[in-house]
Structure formats: structure tokens, C-alpha cells
Amino acid sequence: MFLHIYMYRLKCILRDKQNVFWTLMFPIILATLFYLAFSNLSNAESFTEIEVGIVDNEELREHPEFTEAVKSVPDLFNVTYTTKENAEKLLEDGEIEGYIHFDDGLKLFVKESGINETIIKSFLDDFLQTSSTISTIISQNPAAVQNGLPDSVFDRTDYLKAVPSGKAEPNTVVNYFYSLIAMACLYGSFSGLKEVLAMQGNLSYQGARVNMAPIHKAKIIIASMSAAVSFQLIAVTALLVYLIAVLRVDFGNQVGYIALTSIVSTITGVTFGTFISSVNRQSEGVKIGILIGSSMIMTFLSGMMYDKMKYIVHTKVPVLSYLNPANLITDSFYALYYFDTHARFFTNIALLCGYSVLFGTLTYLAVRRQRYASI
């Protein structure tokens, strides 16, 4: 009996073209659009060496410490030593971002202000501050030169200890794809909603007929929800395969955990839909509206439309992070991607399981009654 209901409900879901589009095709289309939009964003974020000119004159040669300082940051600058006239020409032609000229002190010439120009200036300020510190030390305590203090001024100490951070390089773009997967999982709520409609005598004529059958309600609920979860898992798996195999989105190397997250999230999505559908007696359209609205709010708060929103919620209203299933889903992926330890991941999974049980129980309590006040 369970299998009979399950198979027919799955058939109904798979043949519902609208549902198939929104739950299976739409996330894939959106992923493609994300990919096209954010691949350029990734490229823009990658750092390239700053083209900078240095006027090669007598005064420069009198300050070999400056040349050494420039050499100490080979990944920061691509330096061209040249004459002042040529440096001006290069700046004019846009070949360099700026040029440095020792002319009665250290001077920087730039054509416009921007990030690269700011970086060059910061470098010069740092050099001047360090030089000034050494001069002060020498003038006040000449013995310090013997103790090697000036050298130690140039040393930099890291007060943060680096820890292994997962298998992948940090990438802000990947967070958008996490939100997309969260959205796809939450789209299971639409299948869940339809399943409740199909079994409730006061919500559909088919439901009234189903209610007349000599079957316990719990059996119908479990079979119907299993069908919805199965379909949604197909949809989420298709999305994951597309993201990993076609778009080459790097989710780290923890496929088992990703699968676990997807399964738990899908169950949460489906039970959320059955919950919304069963606890209010509005029309199907209103129920769908409530689902779309709540899904959009949840995914927005989890950072799908504005990447800093996740951080804002976490710092301003941290409890909301734990109340929002979409955030828990994205955060599970996030935790998998960035951390080697799984404490945060399993906290999220446990919360999602809790929500699934809560939504499922509330659904059962709402639909178990079989006699209605009106039909």
C-alpha cells in the first residue's frame, strides 16, 4: 500500500511541468547565470602586480635601503627604473600607475587616485615611518646600532597563527552557490505543499476521496512526503552535479557531507511546505504566495541577494541565524568549505533535523483529523 501511494504520488510530481521547471530547471538556469556573472567578479578580485616607475638618479643611489625595500616586495610591484622624462611619459600613456622620484626627499607622482595608487603611497609611508624611527633611535641611542636594533625595526611579527582551513582556497563567490543550493532544497516545500493539498478532504476533491479510503492517515502522509523528498533529492542532485561537473564550482572535497547536507536540507524543505500547507486554510494560491515569500526572505537573510547580509544577521541578530533554515543550510556548506573541524557543520545539521521533526510533527497534528468543519 505504501509503495502504491508512493509511486503514484511520485508520478504526479514528476508530471507536474510547472513544479519540475521551478524545482529542477530554475535552479540550474540560475546557477548558470550566477556563474556567468560571478566568473568575471572572481577575475576582478585576483591581484596583479602594480606597474611602478622609479627615477634612477644620484639621490636614489644614495639610499640603497629604499631599493632594498622595493626588492623585498617582489609580488607587489613591477618596477621600471628610468629617467624622469620617460617616467612622465609612461605615466601619461598609462603604462605605469605612478612613479617615485628622490628629489630632495621621497616624492610620488600619480595621474589619478585609486586602489593601486593608494598601495604605492602606503608603501612609501611605511618606508618613511620606518626610516624616521631608525633615525630617531640612532640620534638618541647610537649604541643601539651595535645591538642590531635598526634591523629588528624592519622585522614584522604575525600575531595570528595560521591554521589549516579546509581544502579549498577562500572564495566569496561560492557563498552565492551555497545559497542557491539552499534555495533548491527549500523549493521542496512546493512539492510538500501539493502533497498536503492532495490528501486533505477540506482542501481538494481528490483529498476528500482519499479520506474515504480505508487507510490510516499517517501512512498516506509518510508515502506522500517520501515521494516529495525523492523528487526534490533528484532535483538537488542534478543541481550539485551541474555545479561540480559542468560549472566546476569547488565545494572542497567532502562529497559525503555535501550529500548529507542536501538530504537533510531537502527533508527540511519538504516538511516546511507540508507545515505551511496544513496549518492554514487559505487557497492554494495564498499558500504558494506564503511559501515564495518566506523562502525569499530566508534566502535573502542567508546572503543570496547581498553577500554581507549573512554577516549582518550574525552580528546584529545572531538568534535569527539559527531560526532560519536557509541560513543553516548555507552555513553547513560554508562550514564544510572553510573548516577542517565539523563541530559547526554538525550543529547546523542537528538544527535542520530538529526543524524537520518539528515541521513534520506539526503537519501530522494538523492533518491527522479526518472530519472537517466544512468542505
Binding site: 500500500m1 502504491h4 501511494i5 503514484y8 508520478k11 504526479c12 510530481i13 508530471r15 507536474d16 492532495a198 478532504g201 481538494s204 476533491y205 481528490q206 476528500a208 476521496r209 482519499v210 479520506n211 474515504m212 479510503a213 480505508p214 487507510i215 490510516h216 483529523r369 479526518q370 472530519r371 472537517y372 468543519a373 466544512s374 468542505i375
Partner: protein, 312 residues
């Protein structure tokens, strides 16, 4: 007694949908619930099926209290709703199989029953069609097949012929008779008096949530004072004859409809011959003559003072 309903009361806020409703349905009969729209027929059926809560009263089916979890009773009931209750995503065959499968576990037996149901409603050529490809009449037949495929002993049909073409209606009515011949007890609700008169062995007439008359169609017609309606074609129109006709014993009313004289009589003998004798003695030439016995509409009209609104 297959169904026994005692003093059933169902309220929707201030509206009393069923007002101490009583009903008894015997095994093997085709029992008709006749009443205008809004008289409480569907509410009564939904209460009997335990789909609706009610405020007061008792319902027994097969001698036991009816309840949502009375699965043994439900197993023997087939329901054909007023609205078509099938899934748009499943074909004709799949819809019947899905609902039949909720009653019959054995696959082989189920397959046979589904085939029988398809044959019964004559949808064999449409078995792979989705419901949206079917006409209104075919959809109604599919709706019936979904309700009867598991061979229930009690079949409840709630207005199964609404918005159905005459050909499909004929097939549906023939099918109901056949189901009854095969041993099923039928409860048939309708506001089409001709259908109820045609197929039902006993009829309850409902109005405002109450049974206002109950019996066979002849018993119901015998309850009222109205007799036959006599229509006579008058070849030479003469309005003066109306007074004379009205003065005849047992004639309640007389009026002209174009050149047709329509006279309504009280229950009694020789009303037609008395009228014709009067016309002959008045040397009035007549053409066609019709005499119609009272209908259930007359019964309803006499009891409630209003007509059954829709006609088949």
C-alpha cells in the same frame, strides 16, 4: 438497514444546514435524495461519510457507528462526488488504479477490477488519456469509475450528472441501474427530479436541511391534492370558456398559453373526461390533448410553496 441517520444537526455558524435530519436506507434499493441546491443533500452525504463534523445526532452504517477510522465500513463504500475528484497528472487507467489500490492490495485482482471499471464506463479507448483531454461527460464517467472500481456494496453518488450531455447522462443512469442489479445499494442525490423519478425506488425530498417527504414516487404523488395537468389545443380561441372550465368540479386553475388551454386538477377520477365533455357541450373544437400526472415538482411545490429550481 444499510444507513440509519437519527436527528442529525449540522450548523455553519448561524446557518442550520441539517435540521434534525433523519434517514434510513435499506439494502438493495436505489434511494434518492431530491432537493434544490442548498437544501443540505451534500452536507448530509458528507456527514454520513464522516468527512464533516456535525453538532448532534447519530449515524450508523451497516449497523455500526460511522467514524473516520471505521475502515471496515469504508472498505464497502464507494463515493462519487459532485465535483470530479481525479488527478490531472494521471491517465484514465492510472487514476482508477490509484484509487482502487487504496482498497485492493492484490495486484492481479486490482488489474481485473480496473479493467472491469473501464469497460463499465466505456472508457476503453481513452485509457491512456489525461483527464484534461476528456470531455465533461467522459470526465464524469472517469469520476464514477474511480468510485466503483473496488466493487463496493454501498455506492453514494452526489449529483453525478451535473453539467453532463444527454448521451453521457443516459449512460450514467443506465450504469447506476446495472450496479444496483449487480447487488449494490445506491444512494443518489440530485436536484433533477426526472432522474430521481426514473431510477430511484424510494425518494426523500429535502428542503432547508430537513426531509419533508419520503416514499416511493407514487406514494409521494399520493400525498398531495394536485391531480393531472390537462392541456388542450383550442382551435377557435375563445377566452370566455375559461370561466366555464374553472367552474368544473376538481379543476383548480385554468389559463391560456397561446391557443393551448392548460387546466390543473385536484386529485380525483374522470377529470379529463369531464373537461372534454364540457368543451364538446360548449361546441368548442379541440385539437391535440395531453394529460400529465403530477410530478415530484408538484409534490415539492405543494409542500413548500416553491418550485425545484433546476430541471434536467
Amino acid at each position: 438497514m444499510i444507513i440509519k441517520v437519527n436527528n442529525l444537526v449540522k450548523r455553519y455558524d448561524d446557518l442550520i444546514a441539517l435540521d434534525h435530519f433523519n434517514l434510513e436506507v435499506k439494502e438493495g434499493e436505489i434511494f434518492g435524495l431530491l432537493g434544490p441546491n442548498g437544501s443540505g443533500k451534500t452536507t448530509a452525504i458528507n456527514c454520513i461519510l464522516s468527512l464533516l463534523k456535525y453538532d448532534k445526532g447519530t449515524i450508523e452504517v451497516y449497523g455500526r457507528p460511522m467514524a473516520p477510522d471505521a475502515y471496515d465500513i469504508k472498505r464497502n463504500i464507494g463515493i462519487i462526488m459532485q465535483n470530479v475528484a481525479v488527478f490531472d497528472e494521471l491517465t484514465v487507467y492510472e487514476n482508477i488504479d490509484y484509487f482502487c489500490g487504496m482498497y485492493i492490495k492484490d495486484k492481479k485482482k486490482r488489474r481485473e477490477l480496473v479493467e472491469e471499471a473501464i469497460e463499465f464506463v466505456e472508457l476503453d479507448s481513452f485509457r491512456k488519456f489525461l483527464p484534461k483531454k476528456l470531455s465533461g461527460g467522459l470526465l464524469r464517467r472517469l469520476n464514477i469509475a474511480c468510485g466503483i472500481a473496488h466493487k463496493p456494496k454501498l455506492i453514494i453518488l452526489d449529483e453525478p450528472t451535473v453539467a453532463v450531455d444527454p448521451q453521457s447522462r443516459r449512460k450514467i443512469l443506465e450504469g447506476i441501474r446495472k450496479l444496483n442489479d449487480d447487488g449494490a445499494t445506491i444512494v443518489y442525490t440530485s436536484h433533477y427530479m426526472e432522474e430521481v423519478e426514473e431510477i430511484c425506488t424510494r425518494i426523500a425530498i429535502m428542503d432547508k436541511g430537513k426531509v419533508i417527504a419520503l416514499g416511493t414516487k407514487d406514494e409521494l404523488k399520493g400525498m398531495i391534492n394536485s391531480g393531472e395537468k390537462i392541456t388542450v389545443e383550442i382551435l377557435e380561441h375563445n377566452p370566455d370558456i375559461l370561466e366555464g372550465v374553472r367552474s368544473l368540479p376538481n379543476i383548480v386553475s385554468a389559463e391560456f398559453n397561446d391557443n393551448m388551454l392548460v387546466a390543473k386538477s385536484r386529485r380525483g377520477k374522470n377529470n379529463l373526461s369531464a373537461l372534454l365533455e364540457y368543451l364538446r357541450s360548449s361546441q368548442i373544437n379541440v385539437g391535440r390533448i395531453y394529460s400529465e400526472p403530477p410530478t415530484l415538482n408538484d409534490v415539492f411545490l405543494e409542500i413548500t410553496g416553491k418550485e425545484l429550481r433546476d430541471h434536467a
